[in-house]
């Protein structure tokens, strides 16, 4: 019997060792003679460094090294690399390894201490004296854009790093002939990923072999290796970067570089001993990248039947103190805003602005929640204004299933045209509405109301660009034991690649998925690739795995054909065997085929293209794929305490071909939970001096199992035509529409107050204020 592996709910290969405490996270790496590092960080948001005196720290008996900017080699005194340049990014300011003369956000590294223990290193860091001259902090985004109250980077004479415009059609003309024009100011505030494992780096230098080994909790080990090789003047082959088990990533664990990724190897090379640095939670809140703050002035123009004539959004994007990651987040935001709707005329314009806050880079969703929030809110308000049903206004504007590929008319984050590959938007909405029994909602709502309960229904639609290039690669090797080894360049942070990629191979080679061993995130095993981001691993690496596995399959058939004296067309692969179709007794094990493919004597036929049952393949998609979905939820609001409770949460999700529904559901659940967190619980609150007031788990409220509801997932499968497995990205869909949905549900629950929710995240205090204002207005 052949087992179908692809699409089956296979439990994960990686779990047993994680469950018994045998995972290997960076902090679990222990090496003989290992030292521990601590980063001394700026307590000020904006200040000039007048003096740094490290003498007392150096006198500490357990201290081996103290570094300040002045102690760095010349190549590390320059700003760190510009990751993703863009022609509109005029001032591509990037962070320093250690601050030279000025600090620009709380948490910016100022000095680096290496001692025999973390405890001692923290003691010594306190002995470093730094004199700061505090400068006015640039905190408010709109003030910042106007150059107030100071310049984050004086030399450029502005806080605006980039100004960028994209246009489709002619918005002004559309506006002129519209029956309804509706304009609002929308605010999305800062949030952060907060993976349970903070960042960490361990480095070991072998001076004889001139080999640098770095364990790094990164989502992109290969670029880190390449960058380190360049910085330290080493061959790429002499640097090995391992991203072992990574305890959650969600975006911010990709940088090149976080300063510590450079400082730890530098210290290991200077001292000739292994060095470990583990970020603590307090550091994490200020030293690991954030996301989200954008202020949109958005406008929608419609005819009286609710057809969208045009949309305009002019927005500010808070980049934080530096902008290493370029314009990815605002570009994704403006490209996600149109969503599943036909928008003939669209004007998107943004300014990316420096502030004295932690650097911004993509966090799960990466601009998409913002775009969806603005678009869905505009539609909700327009429907209200037109007296139209909120589902109906969406139906009237959906791109239809026959219109794919659909060219939105914009240029996406990968510099390719924004062309949707496939999808079925109307069907997804209808499924969601059916699941929550939308037609009967008015009666249901009235019934709650009669019980004195305020329950609202919300839903929101989105399209998620995912699975972008440039490429990923994979090597599949069948060993004589019959076990299959798969090496790929993408790292994994819990998404189950050890299983889903193994399934792709198991499907192609007819072996048990447990016999497929996947290695990810070790440049020693596979050295080409870019990283795990933008919901691309399963799509791009998965496709490369598929191509490599198919190549191995072809070769197995060729080799087995000669062993079995049969024609390759008459053979099949199943149960770890190659056998003659219809004559199962004539078979050889895949292991035997592997052995035969690597003979000690004789001749290798040229069509084998070399020895062994092995193939390496790359997949480079022409452009990204586009998943989509609809979320719907019932939310109960207690207007007296301004608190929420989710009664139901339904997700209709379409990410093309499903590789493993168990893993896919897990991705969706986790995304929804982060979406709920970012909509109502988690807030990064800054005071006027740029201090983060909510920088601990006591005040940054990640929702717990009590706040997160049961999540019902409904799958729709519209395969992508852009890759051989038909897959689309699934990592971010869970998070994207949640703020839009929560806003709509609260407005629905309190519809007599006629609230307009134009800001995310909300929290009880903000909701209280909205309710108070509305009540005052009403009375």
């Amino acid at each position: 019997m052949t087992t179908r592996w692809l699409g089956a709910p296979i439990k994960r290969n990686e779990d047993p060792r994680l469950l018994v405490g045998q995972g290997l996270f960076v902090d679990d790496v222990q090496l003989p003679g290992m030292l521990h590092a601590v980063v001394l960080r700026s307590p000020h948001a904006h200040a000039r460094i007048l003096r740094i005196d490290v003498r007392r720290a150096l006198e500490h008996p357990d201290v081996l090294l103290v570094l300040t900017h002045a102690d760095l080699p010349p190549s590390l005194r320059e700003p760190l690399p510009k990751l993703i340049p863009h022609p509109d990014l005029k001032h591509h300011k990037t962070q320093y390894t250690l601050a030279p003369d000025k600090v620009r956000h709380v948490g910016e590294p100022v000095a680096f201490v290496v001692a025999t223990s973390r405890y001692a290193a923290e003691d010594a860091a306190e002995l470093i004296e730094v004199d700061y001259e505090p400068l006015p902090a640039v905190v408010d985004l709109e003030d910042a854009a106007a150059g107030r109250p100071a310049l984050v980077h004086e030399d450029i004479g502005t806080n605006v790093a980039a100004h960028s415009v994209q246009r489709v059609g002619d918005y002004e003309a559309a506006r002129a002939r519209a029956d309804l024009v509706l304009a609002r100011r929308f605010v999305v505030d800062r949030g952060c990923a907060s993976p349970m494992e903070t960042r960490g780096v361990v480095a070991q230098w072998d001076p004889r072999a001139r080999q640098l080994t770095v364990w790094d909790s990164t989502q992109a080990p290969i670029p880190i290796r390449n960058g380190l090789a360049a910085l330290f003047g080493l061959a790429q082959k002499d640097v090995r970067v391992i991203a072992p088990d990574v305890g959650g990533g969600f975006g911010p664990k990709i940088m090149m570089f976080y300063p510590e990724e450079v400082l730890v190897p530098l210290a290991a090379m200077r001292l000739g001993r292994p060095v470990k640095w583990i970020e603590d939670r307090r550091e994490h809140f200020v030293a690991t990248n954030h996301e989200r703050t954008q202020i949109h002035h958005a406008e929608i123009a419609l005819d009286r039947e609710g057809h969208i004539l045009g949309v305009r959004t002019v927005f500010l994007h808070d980049a934080g103190a530096y902008i290493p990651y370029g314009l990815i987040v605002p570009i994704v935001a403006e490209c996600t805003l149109p969503g599943p709707y036909r928008i003939p005329n669209y004007h998107a314009e943004f300014r990316a602005v420096f502030t004295n806050k932690t650097i911004v880079s993509p966090y799960r969703g990466a601009g998409r929640p913002h775009g969806v929030f603005v678009m869905e809110r505009l539609l909700d308000l327009a429907a209200r204004e037109l007296g139209m049903d909120r589902a109906e206004i969406r139906r009237r504007n959906f791109i239809q299933p026959h219109e794919f590929p659909y060219d939105v008319g914009l240029i996406y984050q990968d510099n390719a045209p924004l062309v949707y590959d496939s999808g079925n938007y109307p069907a997804a909405l209808e499924r969601a509405l059916e699941a929550v029994d939308y037609p009967r909602w008015p009666e249901e709502k009235a019934r709650y109301r009669a019980q004195g309960r305020r329950v609202g229904l919300g839903f929101a639609c989105y399209v998620e660009g995912s699975g972008i290039g440039p490429y990923e690669g994979c090597r599949v090797t069948v060993e004589p034991s019959g076990k299959v080894y798969v090496a790929t360049g993408v790292g994994t942070q819990g998404q189950g690649h050890f299983t889903s990629l193994a399934q792709v191979v198991a499907e192609a080679l007819g072996v048990d998925v447990r016999d497929v061993h996947v290695v990810t995130g070790d440049t020693g095993a596979f050295g080409w690739g870019t990283g795990t981001f933008a919901s691309r691993a399963a799509v791009v690496a998965g496709s490369a795995v598929h191509l490599a596995a198919q190549a191995v399959r072809q070769k197995a058939l060729q080799v087995a054909a000669s062993l079995l004296e049969a024609s390759p067309e008459d053979l099949e692969l199943a149960d770890g065997q190659v056998r003659v179709r219809g004559a199962p007794s004539r078979s050889v094990s895949l292991g035997e085929v592997a052995r035969a493919a690597n003979p000690l004597r004789g001749v290798i036929p040229s069509e084998w293209e070399g020895p062994g049952l092995e193939a390496t393949r790359y997949f480079a998609p022409p452009r990204g794929t586009f998943s989509h979905g609809v979320h719907a939820a019932l939310v109960e609001v207690d207007p007296e305490t301004a608190t929420l409770r989710f009664l139901r949460y339904v997700v209709v999700h379409d990410c093309g071909t499903i590789l493993n529904p168990l893993i896919l559901d897990g991705q969706i659940h986790g995304g929804v939970a982060q979406g709920i967190g970012g909509s109502f619980f988690e807030r990064l609150v800054y005071d006027d001096s740029g201090q983060l007031l909510s920088g601990s788990f006591m005040d940054f409220h990640i929702p717990t199992a009590v706040e997160i509801p049961e999540i019902e997932v409904i799958h729709q499968e519209t395969p992508s035509p852009l890759n051989p497995i038909g897959a689309k990205g699934a990592g971010e869909g869970g998070v994207i529409p949640v703020p839009a949905l929560v806003a709509q549900a609260i407005e629905d629950a309190l519809d007599d107050l006629e609230l307009e929710i134009l800001r995310m995240p909300l929290h009880p205090d903000a909701l209280f204020e909205l309710i108070q204002k509305a009540t005052r207005r009403g009375s």
């Binding site: 469950l19 902090d27 349970m196 986790g670 982060q674 601990s696 788990f697 009590v706």
Partner: protein, 162 residues
Amino acid sequence: MREPLRTVQLEVNGKAYTVTVPVRKTLADVLREDLQLTGTHVGCEQGVCGACTVWLDGEPVRSCLLLAVQAAGHRVTTVEALGTVDRLHPVQEAFWENHGLQCGFCTPGILMTVAAFLREHPAPSRQEIREVLAGHLCRCTGYQNIVRAVEDAARRLQARRT
């Protein structure tokens, strides 16, 4: 001030260890560094996230909020004592079966809480499960499969007993 040290005997997972440690060193750090029991993870050092949960005399506690010297004379149990790859504990089996973990960082702490909880509540309600899990932060799973895993674990343990 010179670093005050103390030599203490610790009983961890049924084994006796004698360690000399700084009195300020947390139990979590001593387990991980001195005893190489790295299954206990450290996520916040403030007692909120729950990743470092171990048993002290059979009760789940935060090992980041205990000094190692305080554990002398008590029984400490970590995830390493729960099961092995070849012989998973029923709670571990249930987490595997129900995809109750993703990155796996918070998992050992959750397992310790759940295994202790199910001793006292062999047939918990979903709400009770969610409330006991509220002492743990998980950023990957959205908790849903964890809740399912706990329900499944309760059934597995029940089946074992009968």
